[in-house]
Symmetry: C2
Subunit: 108 residues, 2 copies
DNA sequence: TTGACACATCAATATTCATTGATATATTAC
DNA sequence: GTAATATATCAATGAATATTGATGTGTCAA
């Protein structure tokens, strides 16, 4: 069964996984106000530096954020595409979207 | 650490976690066409019954699906509220939403 | 060039999660 | 009643993940 109409499931799973942790959601929330460097996030979240770095890497690998070095600092920002993918998923899956057109008998 | 303005972060994390697995996303995709009983999903996904049951429980605990018994069968269906929460999150977090109003100096 | 700062990475540990196979429960048919 | 079907739950195992503390790397300033 091909998943043609769907945003690639593997990628969606990766994005959702990145958002499945409270620390990372807090990071996303902070970044929704604009880009931030790691030390700012560190102050706001009261989290150990290596811990934060780990979560930022997770978010970055999933494409949820991007980073940009400026001198000594690295600034992280939300990636609009990933957020669009999430919203698109929610819409594609909304019940009623296909309603009527594809009822299926149960297996016995 | 107060997360006042956001859709409760803990709940969002739970929903995202439920969607962070490919098997569960396939289930969601199938349910987007309408409610299905477990055995139907089993056939479509070629997954062991206990495995499917585990994933369905995960989805249900997160509020992504609801179930309904009918005789011998249990039918699962998508829960619109959870999908709305996801879409709402994507919107609330969209960069530019707060732009300008809340720049912050870096930590040093 | 030395030292301080911002950040990433690594190694070790603990925790959480997914999968499997076995068993339990409920419903229906005979 | 017994047997068969649909589903849930449990126990054991292995894999993936998060956290911590230590160390490495690049950048800047004195």
């Amino acid at each position: 069964m091909a998943a043609t109409t769907f945003p690639e499931i593997g990628n969606a799973a990766r994005v959702f996984h990145a958002l499945s942790d409270e620390t990372r959601l807090e990071i996303v929330r902070l970044l929704s106000h604009g880009e931030r460097c790691v030390c700012e996030l560190q102050g706001a979240l009261d989290a150990a530096q290596s811990r934060l770095s780990f979560h930022l890497k997770t978010l970055k690998d999933a494409g949820v954020v991007s980073d940009r070095r400026e001198g000594r600092w690295v600034y992280y920002a939300l990636n609009r595409d990933a957020l669009d993918e999430i919203a698109g998923f929610a819409v594609a899956v909304k019940p009623g979207k296909h309603a009527g057109s594809c009822a299926q008998a149960c297996c016995s």
